[in-house]
């Protein structure tokens, strides 16, 4: 097994008196597709927000390749190579698809505002180079026809793809996918699953995926962590998790209160 690139060690996140995450530890190995599942309000998205440091957990430590990222700003985390998509699409609605993807390239571009204002020279060369790379992503996700549309006007499924593309444009080493197929029909779900597998195979990007579609999770995830009420109740391969009585209790309810309390 390869080295873990992301390690979370006993993270606890509280909002006033509410504990959203309680003492959760996990790790993501290089090239792995790690999935986080759990009922609504279990703290899955909160975990993503602590990784990208939008929320600052009160306890615990998150390490990226051995170095702690605690206390840094979200843009620092992004520059390390951790990209993410959002549960409720967070694209920049007034910008076109190309502009959204180019914004993803922001951290990989070096020009400053002054060079940008002059345009000719550094800025133009860099814009053209990144424009070409963005075009590769557009090809990869097959969204050529939507290129010049402002994203606010696009159908939901396409917006989801554009958001995935924007995260890919950041050249990430780890991709955090927050419900990539939420609200999609069967065909769109199949397409998205194919893209996720392609990203993994062709680009070798490790992924953490939060998803409610159990069929998808069980099919493509390497390892699964199950959360309930902010606590980790199980972790393992899809087969192991499916058989875990704690998981069954959390999802289906259980008459055996001892198991649930455990």
């Amino acid at each position: 097994m390869s080295e873990p690139i992301l390690e979370a060690d006993g993270i606890t996140l509280r909002f006033g008196g509410v504990t959203a995450i309680r003492d959760v530890s996990f790790h993501v190995n290089e090239g792995e597709l790690f999935s986080i599942i759990g009922p609504n309000g279990a703290g899955k998205t909160s975990i993503f927000n602590t990784i990208s440091q939008v929320y600052r957990p009160q306890e615990g430590d998150i390490r990226w390749k051995g170095a702690s990222i605690m206390g840094h700003r979200p843009d620092f985390v992004a520059e390390l190579g951790i990209a993410r998509t959002f549960q409720n699409i967070e694209l920049f609605p007034q910008m076109t698809v190309i502009e959204n993807l180019l914004l993803g390239r922001h951290i990989r571009m070096k020009q400053n505002w002054f060079q940008g204002m002059l345009w000719f020279g550094v800025a133009k060369a860099e814009e053209m180079e990144n424009r070409r790379q963005v075009e590769d992503i557009i090809d990869f996700l097959e969204i050529e026809e939507w290129r010049n549309h402002p994203v606010a006007l696009l159908p939901y499924g396409i917006q989801k793809l554009v958001e995935l593309g924007r995260a890919l444009a950041m050249d990430p080493e780890l991709l955090l996918l927050d419900e990539p197929v939420a609200g999609m029909n069967l065909e769109e779900t199949e397409d998205m699953a194919r893209f996720i597998l392609d990203i993994r195979r062709e680009l070798g990007i490790s992924m953490v995926m939060v998803e409610h579609d159990m069929g998808l999770v069980m099919d493509i995830a390497d390892r699964i962590m199950v959360l309930d009420f902010g606590e980790k109740i199980s972790e393992g391969t899809p087969e192991e998790v499916q058989k875990d009585p704690n998981v069954i209790a959390a999802y289906l309810g259980s008459s055996d209160l001892h198991v649930a309390a455990e």
Partner: protein
């Protein structure tokens, strides 16, 4: 090279170009030639602005140009970065007073240092003005305004939207107070002081290298009036600043600013440091404001502290709303519209007043619309000295028109004049087909 079709892009350069097609390039060149010929007073061409603005048309148009430069700044802050600011007049004032302190005529440099070690606040107040040339005071007026913008920007991290607008309103009143506090910079509070001319000097020599303040031959080539010289200078500067602003918006920094406007948290997660870019938005916007303010003061020659008031700030918000926030073409349309409409209304009313005695087809119209204030003479526009009843002067009507226009645009066309242009363009693009 062949003429390309509008949506056929053959290179990334073309895709990122300001004017991707030859038709657009040609139209812009034609428009530039038109502006130059207009400035030169070419027959037929200069008849167009003369029709709207009268024989002194060049004055309102030149007066609009520095304001258009400032409007580019407010567009970068409000339209592109999404930080609503009513403090633009303050930043214009900062730039203008930097210009007058560095470039204006004054007593001695001590007057520019308001605090003296021995006597505290200076009692014997001279007038601060170092008499430096334009290439010193113009960049400095932008830079000092930008520094003030950076100083104010942390407020944008704490408060958003309307709250930020109210915070920045405070700046305008602080500015007015400072104008009263420091007469060595601002001159008399009511009558103001004289601004340096736009003449280009290498240093403080008698005869300027390039003359902008007297009629005469330019470079020994062409005879131009003072107004024409200023028109060309300010038009060239505006053109330059438009290109810089456009380049900013289409490159990495501009996209980051727009991302902050659309969704600031998502932008941060994408690697755009929020505070740094809000600060940059304030800095660049204030830079434009400072340059615009300095040029405006220099063009008009005399300004007083009350000129940098809240009304000026509101003017800029109106420019954005009417023109179309976030787009540079819209900002320019808005600037032209907001600054020139009152002048057009004024000129055409004066013209209409002349038709009363001329007895032609316009006479009934004039009789209907105008009133001199005598009894029995009804009309909504008062041109006499006494205002009978509800009639209003042209000046007051302009305020009404202004207000009504803002309401109309907000309700019916949020994208402003630019949005109307897009609709017209899209209609003709498909014509004669509906889809």
């Amino acid at each position: 090279m062949a003429f390309n079709r509008p949506l056929l892009r053959t290179s990334y350069e073309q895709d990122a170009a300001i004017f991707p097609t030859y038709t657009q390039k040609g139209a812009m060149v034609a428009f530039g030639v038109f502006l130059v010929l207009m400035g030169l007073g070419a027959p037929y061409i200069s008849a167009i602005p003369e029709f709207f603005l009268g024989p002194t048309w060049i004055n309102p148009i030149t007066n609009m140009l520095p304001l258009a430069i400032s409007a580019l700044g407010i567009n970068i802050l409000v339209g592109v970065t999404g930080q609503v600011s009513l403090g633009h007049a303050f930043f214009m004032g900062v730039g203008a007073y930097t210009a007058v302190a560095l470039g204006g005529s004054g007593d001695e440099w001590q007057a520019c240092v308001p605090f003296h070690e021995e006597i505290g606040l200076l009692e014997e107040r001279g007038q601060c003005g170092l008499g430096l040339p334009i290439w010193v005071w113009l960049p400095f007026s932008g830079a000092v305004a930008a520094a003030f913008g950076i100083f104010v920007s942390p407020a944008a991290m704490k408060v958003r939207g309307l709250y930020l607008a109210i915070v920045t309103v405070g700046l305008v009143f602080i500015g007015l107070h400072l104008g009263r506090m420091f007469p060595e910079y601002a001159g008399d509070f009511e009558s103001g002081r004289k601004w340096p001319s736009l003449d280009f000097r290498l240093w403080k020599e008698e005869t300027p290298l390039i003359e902008f303040s007297e009629d005469g031959k330019w470079f020994g080539l062409i005879h131009l009036s003072e107004e024409q010289k200023q028109y060309f200078l300010l038009m060239a500067l505006l053109g330059g600043f438009i290109i810089l602003a456009k380049n900013l918006v289409r490159s990495r920094t501009g996209r980051a600013l727009q991302a902050i406007r659309d969704r600031d948290i998502a932008a941060e997660v994408m690697g755009v440091p929020e505070f740094e870019y809000k600060r940059l938005g304030f800095a660049i916007s204030s830079f434009y404001a400072g340059i615009g303010g300095a040029l405006w003061g220099s063009y008009l020659g005399r300004r007083s502290p009350v000129d940098w008031s809240l009304f000026l700030s509101v003017d800029f918000i109106a420019i954005l709303l009417i023109g179309g926030a976030g787009t540079i073409a819209g900002t320019m349309l808005g600037a032209v519209f907001v600054e020139l409409t009152p002048e057009i209304v004024k000129h055409r009313t004066d013209w209409l007043a002349e038709q009363i005695d001329a007895s032609n087809i316009f006479t009934p119209v004039a009789n209907f619309l105008l009133t001199t204030g005598e009894s029995g003479d009804f009309g909504p526009i008062n041109i006499g000295t006494v205002a009978p009843g509800w009639t209003m002067s042209v000046f007051q009507w302009n305020f009404v028109i202004y207000g009504v226009l803002i309401v109309i645009f907000l309700i019916f066309e949020p994208l402003g004049l630019f949005g109307i242009w897009i609709k017209i363009r899209n209609y003709w693009k498909r014509w004669p087909f509906s889809y």
